[in-house]
């Protein structure tokens, strides 16, 4: 609000056109004599006590009658009734609660000189008086003296209960409204205030006029609108004679004492800071536009007010700053240093082109090893010499495997899983050959399956190779169930329900609708219907999957694994137990050669035995030479250290 006086019945402010709030009903205090003869409200509520005392001060009316209990407009002012009631002047606080000198001031008595002796004057006030009497005029009321005895802080002013309100003399000398009692405390210059018939009014109440219209006391607007009388100028008060408790900074017109303090050396700014002194950016004079020139806010919650900070042009619409920004004064030396730093950083950030890696040349040792091995495996095959002796003793496991194959019934097919890659054909065909040959020799029908994409082709290749010697015909003696993708889940599906897992087959006869119509698979509906499950694999992972997934569904059918020599240790735990999951194991060329010897059918294993043996020997020699060389190198190095 713009603090402009408006008529009581006005709805909008005459200055800023803001909607005025409804004037609250002020309860009237009978006989209180409002300022200016203001009519007391006829009905209802009464004036709050503090307001009545205020009026008393202003009007000087004696005695405020007891106020009727508040029953103001609405029930909002009920709480005022709970406040202690203050009677008139004659009914002030009981003696003793308020010192007489305070009471004398309240009643308009003048001088503290007239303060009766023996009055109950607080100690602190007495000290002030004494000090004031002993001070010369013009001495600062407040001295900075570290060695000075620190005077105890004066006790606080007694709680200003409503009954202790003291009217302020209209001629109070302090522009900050120091009460009279404080002023009266000065022994020399106690203000003499002539009793006036006029009610004493504090300076801040000077602007309050009484036009006898019966309205509330009007407080002049803080904004000069030209209509009302301007408030009286602030009174200049010479605070030099004020008590010692008043600090210097409260006084106006006090001569600056900075010159008296010569113990501080003037500050000298460093050059770099001096260079950063902003120029041309600060306006030395701040202009305050008059209320008439002030724009009226048209948006936001402050709409209609004059003199408010405009939101839209300033805040909502940001604009580029006007005026010059701070300019940095840089000398030549600083510029050179900045350039140097910039060049250093640029060098760091410049990308270093990676040098192309030098092509690694294979070492001579690699050629020697390769040549030795190639010769070792090639010479026996090409020349037939040397012919390595065949193993004289069969491995212990072979007997068990042979016994398993010899014991299976031949009317039901055996399921052979070809789970090795094309790269392992060199070993797996040689090792699995005698096993398949044994099955064919017994006349067991064979069904092949693979969880690898190329397994069916490898199965056909090996079956054709081995079957040629046993007149095994595809479609009559063996069939290919085909490819089964999906890993463990697919194996589980096949173990639980073979007919639903595989439907198409590989190299199936045209006449067959599904592969399960083949006579080779007659009567086979479950995994346990197969006479044997054999897993031919070069890796232990495939063997483990088949062992784990198929075991619950095998029933009495044995499980046999034909594995690479490198995977044997990880499959053997399933074999070496009192309740084995694997009933037979065949691993390594040695076992295969022994198997072929047992069958009396030299095959692939025999053909590769000499090359394999010589290659193995050459590898052993090379390893021994390398170990000796490594140990010798280590010994020599340690001696050199």
């Amino acid at each position: 609000m713009c603090q402009t006086e408006n008529a009581a019945e006005a709805e909008f402010c005459r200055l800023c056109h803001a909607k005025l709030p409804e004037a609250p009903e002020i309860p009237s205090v009978p006989g209180s004599g409002a300022v200016g003869g203001q009519e007391t409200p006829a009905a209802g509520g009464e004036m709050p006590d503090w307001l009545s005392r205020l009026r008393q001060e202003v009007t000087g009316e004696a005695g405020a009658t007891e106020s009727a209990p508040l029953s103001g407009a609405g029930d909002d002012l009920d709480w005022l009734g709970a406040m202690p009631q203050v009677g008139g002047e004659d009914e002030g606080p009981p003696a003793g609660e308020v010192p007489e000198w305070l009471g004398a001031s309240a009643s308009g008595e003048t001088s503290t000189d007239e303060t009766p002796e023996g009055a109950d004057v607080p100690e602190w006030l007495a000290k002030i008086r004494a000090k004031a009497r002993g001070e010369d005029e013009g001495e600062p009321a407040f001295e900075v003296d570290e060695a000075a005895e620190i005077t105890p802080a004066p006790p606080p002013v007694p709680p200003s209960a409503p009954e202790a309100v003291i009217p302020v003399e209209p001629e109070a000398r302090s522009s900050l409204g120091l009460p009279d009692w404080l002023m009266a405390a000065r022994p020399d210059e106690a203000p003499t205030v002539a009793p006036s018939s006029e009610p004493e009014r504090p300076s801040w109440l000077m602007g309050v006029t009484d036009d006898g219209s019966g309205e509330l006391p009007r407080i002049p607007a803080l904004v000069f609108d030209g209509e009302g009388a301007p408030p009286p100028p602030a009174l200049d008060i010479d605070l030099s004679s004020v008590s010692a408790q008043v600090p210097d900074w409260m006084g106006e017109g006090r001569p600056p004492e900075a010159a008296d303090r010569s113990d501080l050396a003037p500050a000298t700014l460093p050059a770099w800071l001096e260079a950063m002194r902003p120029v041309d950016t600060f306006r030395s004079v701040i202009e305050i536009e008059s209320a008439e020139d002030a724009a009226v806010e048209s948006a936001g919650p402050l709409a209609g007010l004059r003199g408010a900070l405009l939101a839209e042009p300033v805040v909502a619409m940001p604009h580029a700053p006007t005026g010059k920004s701070a300019r940095l004064d840089v000398n030549e030396r600083q510029y050179a240093q900045a350039e140097l730093l910039h060049r250093l950083i640029e060098d760091e950030q410049r990308e270093v082109r990676p040098r192309p890696a030098a092509k690694a040349r294979p070492s001579a040792l690699r050629w020697v090893v390769a040549a030795a091995l190639l010769l070792a495996v090639g010479v026996p095959g090409l020349l037939g010499v040397p012919a390595m002796a065949l193993p004289a003793f069969a491995p212990r496991d072979l007997a068990g495997l042979v016994g398993v194959v010899d014991a299976i019934p031949t009317e039901r097919p055996a399921l052979i899983v070809f789970d090795y890659e094309a790269g392992a054909t060199g070993e797996m065909e040689a090792v699995a050959g005698p096993f398949l040959s044994h099955l064919m020799a017994r006349g067991v029908p064979i069904a092949t399956l693979s969880t690898h994409a190329g397994g069916s082709v490898l199965a056909e290749r090996l079956m054709a190779l081995q079957g040629a010697g046993h007149n095994y015909v595809r479609g009559e003696d063996f069939i290919h169930l085909g490819y089964l993708p999906g890993g463990p889940a697919a194996v589980q599906l096949f173990a639980a329900s073979p007919r639903q897992a595989v439907t198409s087959g590989f190299l199936k006869a045209e006449a067959l609708t599904t592969i399960w119509d083949s006579p080779v698979l007659a009567g086979v509906t479950r995994l346990s219907d197969f006479t044997l499950l054999a897993v031919i694999t070069s890796g232990s992972e495939d063997a483990r999957v088949w062992i784990e997934q198929s075991e619950p569904f095998l029933g009495e059918a044995p499980l046999v694994t034909v594995v690479s020599a490198g995977s044997e240790p990880l499959v053997r735990p399933y074999y070496e137990s009192t309740d084995p999951r694997v009933n037979g194991i065949l691993s390594g060329l040695t076992s295969a050669v022994a198997y072929e010897q047992r069958l009396g059918e030299p095959g692939l294993a025999h053909s590769r035995w000499s090359s394999y043996g010589l290659g193995l020997l050459v590898a052993e020699v090379l390893i021994v030479m390398g170990a000796v060389g490594g140990i010798a190198t280590g010994v020599v190095r340690s001696r050199r250290r």
């Binding site: 496991d397 490819y483 087959g505 490198g566 009192t578 590769r608 193995l616």
Partner: protein, 258 residues
């Protein structure tokens, strides 16, 4: 679609191609070169194309496409057709959306199904097929009268072997659980303590079982290495023998013996 190709010609050309490719790959011994790279990239392309053809011909086409071609009115809407054909087609379609930017999230359904089923199969197989049986197998009897069914061992030999297998099993598990501490992979793992025995004070490594497990593990690695080297020598043997036979066939073809 049957294709009539002269099998002899096919075999001859095929063998020649295989021999050339074998030599190209073996040239890697001399160092990485363009011939080796061409051969390996060719192999990857052929293997991928063949796998895709097999997956389509043996799984997807007979399960998803053929039923539609052979569909009768009665079968359409039947439960087996819906669950066996329609739903898988939908799942495959959603899976294919993984390749489409922006719609890939819908492919989460078939992937979730695959992963859930796969995880269940792995867990079930691991517990029922390995954990329980192998734990029971580790508790072999130390009775000297028991006979190993596979090898026929009995008596003291069998007791020693059973003990060694048990110590190896426990030591290996102890090595991986207690032997390696996070952040201390290169710190000395064992200290030596002197223990009084009837034979006198003996220094033993501490902790014992992880130390023993380390020994057993590296013995197992040595056995696996020897087996792997044996296998790869067989692969090399097979290739060299193939080259020799191919060369022989080629020479006999070029210079037939009258």
């Amino acid at each position: 679609m049957p294709v009539q190709i002269d099998p002899v010609l096919l075999e001859t050309l095929g063998t020649l191609l295989a021999a050339v490719l074998t030599v190209m790959v073996l040239s890697y011994i001399l160092g990485d070169n363009a011939l080796f790279r061409i051969a390996t990239y060719l192999f990857v392309g052929v293997a991928s194309g063949y796998a895709a053809a097999v997956a389509w011909q043996e799984v997807l086409q007979p399960r998803l496409i053929a039923p539609f071609l052979n569909l009768s009115t009665a079968q359409f809407g039947a439960g087996p057709f819906l669950t066996g054909v329609v739903v898988p087609i939908g799942l495959v379609g959603l899976l294919a959306l993984r390749l489409v930017p922006g719609a890939g999230r819908l492919g989460g359904l078939p992937v979730a199904l695959l992963i859930g089923v796969g995880a269940a199969a792995v867990v079930g197989g691991a517990i029922a097929g390995t954990l329980v049986p192998q734990t029971l197998a580790a508790m072999e009897s130390f009775s000297p009268f028991a006979v190993a069914p596979q090898t026929g061992e009995t008596g003291f030999e069998r007791m020693v072997n059973v003990l060694l297998v048990l110590v190896g099993t426990v030591g290996t598990l102890a090595y991986f659980r207690f032997g390696v501490r996070q952040g201390e992979e290169y710190a000395p793992r064992y200290s030596w303590r002197r223990v009084r025995t009837p034979l006198g004070a003996v220094s033993i490594p501490w902790p014992v079982f992880p130390f023993l497990g380390e020994v057993f593990i590296f013995v197992a690695f040595g056995v696996m290495f020897a087996g792997a080297l044996s296998a790869t020598l067989l692969y090399l043997t097979e290739r060299v023998q193939f080259l020799a036979s191919a060369l022989q066939t080629l020479l006999s073809g070029l210079f037939p013996i009258a």
